[in-house]
Structures are given as C-alpha cells and as structure tokens.
Subunit: 144 residues, 2 copies
Amino acid sequence: MLHDDNFSPRALRLREAGHKLTNARLTVLNVLETSGGHITSAEVLERVSEADPSIGRASVFRTLDLLTSMSIIRPTYFNSSLTPTYVLMPDGHHHHIVCTNCNRVIEFENCGLDAIAHDLETRLHVKLTSHLLEFYGLCDRCAS
Amino acid sequence: MLHDDNFSPRALRLREAGHKLTNARLTVLNVLETSGGHITSAEVLERVSEADPSIGRASVFRTLDLLTSMSIIRPTYFNSSLTPTYVLMPDGHHHHIVCTNCNRVIEFENCGLDAIAHDLETRLHVKLTSHLLEFYGLCDRCAS
DNA sequence: CTCCAATATGATACATGGTATCAATACGAT
DNA sequence: ATCGTATTGATACCATGTATCATATTGGAG
C-alpha cells in the first residue's frame, strides 16, 4: 500500500522510534502538517475522513496520543474545556498569546528560552526536548 | 448564607469583575486553593461534593470555566487527552517540566520571562496578564 | 432592613469526545 | 516471499461536559 518513500521528517522520527509507518498515521500527520498550526480533534477527524474514509476514529485518536507523547504535537485549551486544540511543535517548541477577551491567538517566534532550558538541564539533571509557552492577556485590538 | 467576609484575594477578584460570590464558587475556589496545584476535574467534583453535596455538577464546571477565563487557573493535558488537569496560577504564572517517559511533573520557579513579556507588550501592543510555560523531556530518573 | 431584578444555581436529560475490546490486516525485518 | 508483531477498524461503551429551565441567592437601591 505504501510505495511512496518520500516520508516527511516527522514521519521518519516515528520510524526511528520504532513505530510503523501506517496509512492511518501518515494521513493524520499529513492533515496536521497542512493544517496551519492549530486544529481541533474534530477537524482532524473530518479531514482524515475526507482523505481516506476507511480510517477509523480510534486510529486517529491513537495517532494523536502517539504524536503527543513524542512532543510532535501538543494539546491545548482555547475556548471550551471540551475539546483540545492540537498545536504543531515544528522545531520542538511553540509560543503564542491567547487573548482572554476575543480568543484570538497570536503566534510569535523567538522565545529566548534556550538559556532557561539549558540552565534547568544542568540544575535539575533533566533532558528537555521541547516546550510550549502560552501568554494570556489582551490583544492589540482589545487592549484599547 | 454567606456571613463570612473573609474572602480570599482570588474571590475578591471575582467580585471586582462583577461576579457574585456564591457558595458554589467559593467552594470550588477553596478546593483548588487547597489542592496543591494540579487537580483534575473529576477530583474537583469529588472534593466539592464532599464539602457540600448540594452543589451540582454544572456549577462546578461553570466555575472552572469562569476561573479559566480569568486566568486564575489553567487547564492542561498530562497523560490522557480525556480530562484536563487544572493548574493554579498563583501569581499569574506557572511553570513545570513534564517527563514524557514516566509522566512525572516537576514544578519550578524563576522562569525569567518578565523580560520577554515586556518585550512582547511593547512590540505587539498587547497587555499580558499571565503565562504558562511547559517543558517536555526526561526527568532526572528517566534520563539515566 | 427590606425588597427586587438580575445573576447563578441544581436537576435532569442530553451530546460529544475518547476508549476498550478483539478479530482481521498490514508493516517491515529477515 | 514469509512471518511475527504492531496496528487497525468496527462496535459498543463510558465519562466528561453542556443545554435547559424552573427555583433560589446575591447584593445593591430605596
């Protein structure tokens, strides 16, 4: 079934970690990678189903869990506490500001956390691979 | 019913924002404040029910939503993506390391993000009130 | 202090999200 | 090409969170 060896770097990370590159996993990963960064599980389900209706609900959730455990994505809450929004961590990190008034999400780069991460690693003897930084407050429009 | 005017600072924040200080809200807040930082909705429900069985499910969830919208707490995912864990943001921020192997959570202070927050405020014209910083990786035990 | 309007509540029934189970299938190492 | 093992998809299930609405509580005005 899978004759295409042009796997994305993230797919290869899965294989390196000993996981099989199945159709379900590659499809979910592709949906996430083409989604633009923020996507709910309901949207993932829908888009996976469009791409390949034979893929089951369970596999989608299983893949989301797997990707989360590998820090490739990260579930986060925006409005409701009912459904998480999954955030891609392209280079092992993600940062955004959530407006507590209009719920707009503003992404930004350049978090400057490398120094902090390094300090924690030496101080606490941990090995950090990724991070998520969320600020909450008012966006430029709502701050006026 | 509420003859005790010794409200916690967070309760007063609710009143200042125009919300009524009801028994349900004060009970939920008290459970959170005495929980030690990380608590799931199921645990909140249970402990609220112990404290006052007359308080209904719905009010507990409504209060959790309200507190979240005010950045007094913040829902976060640890193991499962089924139930969030609520994290208190005592001084408007919270930081921890989640071990991706054993799921242990290590909290730390001194995030050094004030400078970054200030920079973002001037650069993006936003008004930030709080933040959550999560690192993922291996804890000291699992890193060996 | 009393009264009142507006806000919040609790009960119930409901919707939705996520999961356990398990026989059938596909991956990928050899 | 073969085979063991990881993974799948279907289903039925459970838990979490929510809409609804009649009732009750809050807190401020008078």
